[in-house]
Every structure is written in structure tokens, then in C-alpha cells.
Symmetry: C2
Subunit: 158 residues, 2 copies
């Protein structure tokens, strides 16, 4: 939102700050969503290097903990992932003995997912790290702004 005069001589060795002049692309909402997501993703990754968990993996464990016996398809719908993507994530978590699959007693096509003890422990650790990560995000906002931001974002993903 600021005017700079280096439009035509960007080829020269002008020092750019981090938020240097970007051009009209700066007015695109999707552009800011992508950058914000990237910043969040990077900080999340740093916070979770010790736990070796990704956002998706934590989300899946969290949802399985809140919905024991959930099927992969329901999991995927809640997190907006297709079946194949859900598979690979569940596979990884199962390989690490963080959760297990059982045949659903009510529908033979479905798998019922449950956290294993190791998964419960990992999720507990993850929630601590999440709290830290959330504080990092929220540190730049008032409570009212956080509320506003979540409402606006929710409107995008329905």
C-alpha cells in the first residue's frame, strides 16, 4: 500500500526490505492468504522439528482422538483431503504406531481409526507445541482481531 519509485530501475542494486514493493499483486487476497499460510507453515515446522510431525499429521491425530472410530473418508471430508491423500497420512501414522485401523463393525467397507498409546502421548506433546505456535500467531493480534480473522477465514473454507 505504499508507493516506491524503483519500478523502473529494479535491475539496479536497490536494497529491498522484506516487504519490498511488490506491485499490483499485493492487492490480491489469495496472494496474502498464500503468504500467511507459508509463514504459518514454516513456523509450525520449526516448532515441530523435535516431534517430527506435520500439520496434517497432527490434525489427523487430533480428530481421531476427538472422534474415536472415525473412518478415513469422514476424516478426509473434515480436513478437505481426498481418499488417496488421507491414506498416505494414515499409513505414516500407523507405521509409527500412533494409530491403528480396525474394520468398522457397522460398515465392512470402512476402517475405524483409533489412537494407540504412543499416539496419545505424541498428541499430548503436539498440543503443547501447538499452544506455543498459536501464541506466535496470536501475538500480533488482539483477542477481537483473532475472532474476526477466524470468522473471515471460516467464510472462505465454508
Amino acid at each position: 500500500m505504499r508507493v516506491r519509485d524503483d519500478d523502473l530501475d529494479a535491475v539496479t542494486t536497490v536494497e529491498h526490505e522484506d516487504d519490498a514493493y511488490l506491485g499490483e499483486i499485493n492487492d490480491i487476497v489469495g496472494f496474502h492468504i498464500r503468504l500467511a499460510h507459508g509463514a504459518c507453515y514454516r513456523h509450525f515446522t520449526e516448532t515441530f522439528t523435535d516431534l517430527e510431525l506435520t500439520q496434517k499429521q497432527v490434525s489427523v491425530m487430533w480428530l481421531v482422538a476427538d472422534h474415536p472410530g472415525i473412518s478415513q473418508i469422514d476424516l478426509g471430508q473434515k480436513l478437505r483431503m481426498d481418499r488417496a491423500t488421507t491414506m498416505t497420512i494414515v499409513n505414516r501414522l500407523q507405521a509409527r504406531h500412533y494409530l491403528r485401523r480396525e474394520k468398522s463393525p457397522t460398515d465392512g467397507r470402512k476402517q475405524a481409526l483409533y489412537l494407540e498409546p504412543a499416539g496419545e502421548a505424541a498428541l499430548a506433546e503436539a498440543k503443547k507445541a501447538i499452544r506455543e505456535h498459536e501464541n506466535w500467531v496470536k501475538s500480533r493480534f488482539t483477542d477481537a482481531e483473532v475472532k474476526t480473522l477466524m470468522e473471515l477465514l471460516a467464510r472462505i473454507h465454508e
Copy 2:
């Protein structure tokens, strides 16, 4: 933010809407950023199937157009990508003759990037599609809300 009673019997065949009860994870800001980004990304991809361009590719072409002769490192800094990632994207665009590399006259280490005619044409098409995509995003907000959202998001990515 609504209470549902299927916490304990999610294993039964309960119909879930898209925004079905998620649990406490629903209060995590990062979670909503990720979902909103995913929704944006999917709509973007649909809008751009004909052009065969990704968000990153469009962003790179757009910035090169606004900053002719920009180096890869400056490009990467503006879009928060590391050198290797920037490389692969520039490689792909160069292979499609959308942009070209020239040695920078002022710094022998740098490449100066310029759009090729095919790239100008593709970018012009892309901007039309972006407009459509932006309308999709903005359709659920007032102008004031859009402004608020962008300001809040900008605070996250600095």
C-alpha cells in the same frame, strides 16, 4: 462453534455436513488458515486448468513483469521461496518460453529475468482468470471486510 451430540457415536453412520463438528481443533487459528488456503488453492487450480499455471508460476511471471531484470534471489525473497525452489519454477517457465534468463550486467553472479512474448500473453490471460478467482474469494465479504482480512493476513507474513 456449535455443539453437536455425536462425539461418542461418530462411528455410527451419522450424516456430516461440510462443516461438521470438529472439536477443539476448530479454535486453532493456524487450522483455519490452512483450510482457507486449501480452499483458495483448489479454486485457483480449477480456474487455471486451461492455462496450466499454478499460483507460484503466476506470481513469478507477475513479479517479473513488474520488475523486469529482477534476479532469482530477489524474486525468491519477495515470494518467500528459497533459491532451489525459485530455480525449479523459473526452469519450468523458461522451458515453456514464458521468460528468459540473461546475465545481469551489474552483477555476474545474478541472472536478470525478463518475460518473453509468450509469457506476456499468458500473464494477460492469467490476470483475467485471477480477477475471476478474486471475485470468488471476495463474493463472501464486504469491501471493508476484505480490507480487514488483508491487513490481518499481512501482519502474519510481515
